[in-house]
């Protein structure tokens, strides 16, 4: 009997290969979307981790030469012998055959834990590493590229090392770089002994660089990462709905057969068992295809990710994808779990419907009218939960929970809202055709709702992430414009040079503005305190979020302080509050709060007079120069010529900005590509739903045709229906997307980085997106509509002879 039942069930797929195809396609696409995003995410994370490890030394404070030049290692020994726990690093470029190699020399004995990649420090062969010819750790492709080159240490491939980099012992590196006895910088171990001689007494040529030297980049990286994570979540949701829709339809289509089988005596239990086995097999097949597809997606997008990270780190990252078992398993998992969840619901329905329940779609529609209420209630509950999380929640987890609740609430509410809207339209309709059109659309809703939910999520994600990205970009660029007003930034190597520099510059530029700072604890947390001149550069451009009147006058008068948003949020300070700075006699008034994107630390701004009185010891080396922009490059060259300043000490604002913008835009190419992809998949989900529905809908269309409508007319109505549904979904997606953007900007971002981004809306983008949605909906409906228009009358007539 089992065999007979099985063959009956399978015969359905043989008779309806299109349905089978669309089911598999739906499942595979959902899996592909999910696993593709996961693959990119995993690869990006792995790359970050590698980059972070590679740049591990940046997590430590460093002692760097003021002049940027290498120095003698006797300075290192002198510091060690004075109690400073420092470790020498020698860096340099080595020209090998055809490839520029970055050599990083370390001393594994004095290096603090975590300052070099794990595999480099974690291997046991210390003697081999130290003893000539030594060992050089490099990425596998670098090892391959260098194979056979003479004069190099024994090469060892390590996945933890960035391509193009060679990590070796400092002694070996000194030989390679012909820098005998030379050191580039010193890593400062986090734990230092209690007694140390002052740095200036032992190594006046070195200054301490705090560990967060790359904080700006780190924040950007994190935001990219967060973006991908959010996208992973969205794609998961979209995928789940697609799977759910595909499986649900597959069950619904076969309901008459189930009814007949049960009427003929197949026990419910074995029917359900067979169906479960069938779902599992289908899910595995589609899942495998999906993972492979996802791999393709990821492989296509990964070069962009690699480019982004290269932009962020200025270091080469592998642009290839390695197959990670985790996301193979994850992809199959989502296919099986998604299919299982969807099938569970359908099986439950099957088990609870009496064997002879009417098989007409209308009955299904009515049965799900109750489901609609339940969904509405769930949507309401989730909406309330999202609201609660937004108001009372804190932290990143709450932020993501808010995102999830919001999306799910919106998706669940969609069918209900559409049904309500269609009901209203139906009652308002005058003509008989219009009335039928609305009624019929409403009846089709249950079959389409999952595809529409997927479309809603895709559109909302598009609007949300798009708004976030654009807001981020706009704000960030604005902030760059404001913060980097000066055309050139020059750092002197020592005080004496700084004085000469100021003198030399005075007649040559419009203004020389000191940018002097000191690190000190403010309000209980480490912060950077800056002294700034009273100048239009600041008055006109500084990005104040909130300020007392006359803020700049107060600052110049030395009675007030400006703080960045991070410090304001952390210490709960606002304009008008009192703040005592270290070394100050009395409290200053917080006159304003400014935005400071990308900086994880607190910052305070003082008038220059007050700053020099309070902190006479602060190095006075950095200066911002105002001059006509076109003269900047010439002046930069002159500075190098006159003072021999290293290039790193002169920074051209335009160059900085260009690099930032480039990094930024690359970062989000990936997002944009994923956006389009999600939308496309949602469109495909709609196509498969419409295709499978088309077959089921013939009994509803045939009588109307028989009563005097042409097939072409019916097809046009079908197309119109899909467009109308897509348009309605788009209209609903706008508020959902905006809420999503708000949650990302005002909740998740604050939780993650401590600053809130202002939200900018881009209605023109919505129009474009709306057009895209209509295109997706229209394309999805086009094929089924064309099939209807061309359908042979005999096929329609069959409907009249068949019992349904």
């Amino acid at each position: 009997m089992r065999r007979a039942t099985l063959s009956a069930m399978l015969s359905h797929w043989l008779r309806h290969p299109l349905q089978l195809g669309s089911l598999l396609l739906g499942l595979a696409l959902a899996t592909a979307l999910w696993s593709g995003v996961q693959a990119i995410n995993a690869e990006a994370r792995a790359s970050y981790a590698r980059a972070a490890q590679m740049l591990g030394q940046d997590r430590f404070a460093q002692l760097v030469p003021r002049d940027g030049q290498r120095f003698d290692q006797s300075v290192f020994v002198a510091l060690r012998r004075a109690g400073w726990q420092v470790s020498p690093v020698l860096e340099g470029a080595l020209q090998t055959d055809g490839q520029q190699l970055r050599v990083l020399g370390l001393d594994p004995l004095s290096a603090p834990a975590g300052s070099a990649p794990q595999t480099v420090t974690g291997r046991g062969d210390l003697p081999g590493f130290l003893t000539p010819p030594g060992q050089g750790y490099a990425a596998p492709q670098t090892v391959r590229a260098l194979a056979g080159q003479p004069g190099l240490p024994r090469l060892i491939a390590s996945d933890d090392v960035l391509p193009g980099l060679l990590i070796t012992d400092i002694g070996i590196a000194q030989g390679l770089l012909e820098a005998s006895g030379q050191v580039s910088r010193l890593i400062l171990a986090p734990e230092q002994p209690r007694r140390r001689a002052p740095l200036a007494a032992i190594a006046p040529g070195l200054t301490q660089r705090p560990p967060q030297a790359r904080a700006d980049i780190a924040a950007l990286t994190d935001s990219f990462h967060l973006n991908l994570t959010a996208f992973g979540l969205l794609s998961f949701a979209v995928g789940l709905f697609i799977v759910h829709g595909a499986i649900g339809l597959a069950f619904e289509q076969r309901r008459p057969m189930f009814r007949t089988l049960r009427a003929l005596g197949v026990p419910l239990r074995s029917l359900i068992g067979l169906l479960m086995a069938e779902v599992l097999i289908l899910a595995l097949i589609a899942g495998l295809a999906g993972v492979a597809l996802g791999y393709g997606i990821a492989a296509a997008l990964l070069p962009d990710v690699a480019a982004t990270l290269r932009g962020l780190y200025g270091a080469a990252l592998p642009g290839t994808l390695s197959l990670r078992p985790a996301w193979w398993a994850g992809g199959l998992g989502i296919a099986v779990i998604g299919a299982g969840a969807a099938a569970g619901q359908s099986l439950w329905r099957l088990a609870h419907l009496p064997p002879l329940a009417p098989a007409q779609p209308r009955a299904w529609a009515r049965a799900s009218a109750r489901g609609l209420w339940r969904q509405g209630a769930a949507a309401l509950g989730l909406g309330l939960a999202a609201f609660g999380l937004a108001v009372f929640g804190s932290g990143l987890v709450a932020g993501f929970a808010l995102l999830g609740a919001l999306l799910l609430a919106a998706a669940l509410a969609l069918p209900g809202i559409l049904a309500l809207g269609l009901g209203v339209a139906e009652r308002a309709a005058k003509g008989v055709l219009a009335q039928w059109f609305w009624a019929d659309t409403r009846q089709q809703l249950p079959g389409l709702s999952l595809a529409l939910m997927a479309l809603l999520l895709a559109l909302a994600a598009n609007i949300g992430v798009g708004t976030m990205v654009s807001s981020f970009r706009l704000t960030f660029l604005g902030w760059l414009d404001q913060r980097l007003v000066a055309e050139l930034y020059v750092t002197a190597r020592d005080e004496e040079e700084a004085a000469r520099l100021r003198q030399w510059l005075a007649p040559r530029v419009e203004a020389v503005l000191p940018v002097w700072s000191i690190e000190a604890p403010v309000a209980g947390a480490p912060a950077q305190i800056y002294g700034v001149a009273d100048h239009a550069t600041y008055r006109d451009h500084w990005p104040l979020l909130d300020a007392l009147p006359g803020v700049w006058d107060r600052l110049a008068a030395g009675e007030a302080v400006l703080i960045n948003e991070q410090m304001a949020r952390r210490a709960g300070l606002g304009p008008g509050d009192a703040l005592t700075l270290p070394g100050a006699n009395g409290a200053l008034i917080v006159a304003g709060v400014y935005s400071d994107y990308g900086n994880p630390h607190g910052e305070a701004l003082l008038g220059q007079g007050l700053f020099t009185t309070l902190y006479p010891q602060a190095p006075r080396l950095r200066h911002a120069l105002r001059l006509p922009p076109e003269e900047a490059p010439a002046l930069a060259r002159a500075l190098v010529r006159e003072f021999g300043l290293p290039a790193g000490n002169i920074r051209d604002q335009a160059a900085i900005k260009a690099v930032s913008v480039q990094v930024f835009d690359r970062t989000f190419t990936v997002t944009a590509a994923l956006n389009v992809l999600t939308l496309g998949v949602a469109g495909l989900a709609m196509l498969t739903s419409l295709l499978t529905l088309a077959g089921m809908r013939l009994p509803q269309l045939a009588p109307v045709w028989a009563l005097g409508l042409t097939r072409a007319h019916l097809a046009r109505l079908e197309l119109l229906r899909a467009l109308m549904l897509a348009a309605l979904t788009m209209v609903l997606a706008v508020p959902v997307g905006l809420l999503l953007a708000w949650a990302l900007l005002a909740v998740v971002n604050v939780a993650a980085f401590g600053w809130r981004l202002p939200m900018f809306t881009f209605p023109a983008d919505w129009l474009r997106l709306g057009a895209l949605a209509l295109l997706a909906g229209g394309l999805a409906a086009l094929w089924p509509a064309l099939r209807l228009a061309r359908m042979a009358p005999a096929d329609l007539l069959k409907v009249f002879a068949h019992e349904r």
Partner: protein
Amino acid sequence: MLLEARDIEKSYGTGAGAVRVLSGVSFRAAAGESVALTGESGSGKSTLLHLCAGLDRPDAGEIRIDGQALGALDDRGRAALRRDRIGLVFQQFNLIPSLPVAANLSFQARLAGRQDAAWCAALAERLGLEGLLRRYPEQLSGGQQQRVAIGRALAARPRLILADEPTGNLDEATGDAVLALMLELVSETGAGLVMVTHSARLAARLDRRLHLSGGRIA
């Protein structure tokens, strides 16, 4: 002549080859005339009726309604013909599941732009549907659905009523009443009626009887 079929041939293609259903059927039905179409199951009655309604095309032969050859009409023309002149009652009712009974009843009349609310109400009453107007088709019994289908066909006062076993699901008394209603309309408006039936008793009440057998009118 209201309906004129001449030398109609029709075969269906199946996996096992073509099945010839009609092989040279000719008949006529005049305005105001009622014709019974009988024949054993599978003899092609429904097929013939669908051809007459312009739902499908014959392989050979010609069908004319009010002198208009259906073969000369395009899709749109045939749709207009069905809408405006023909009342079809299907063997399987084929109501529109998304619309309530009232809307189903008036659907074709409104489509044809000839809605007559009083007539619709009268039809509902005569067919015993007054209490069911707000229900949906799947909430009706087979007989009730059949009565709605008949009402839908008559609501537009068609020139030609093509009914495929309209009383198949009805008890004798209701069947008689429904037939009376149709005949009343025929005599009132001068419409033609072609009705498929297995019941000799009902067939006897019509003006003429055609028997389909072996693909021909006997």
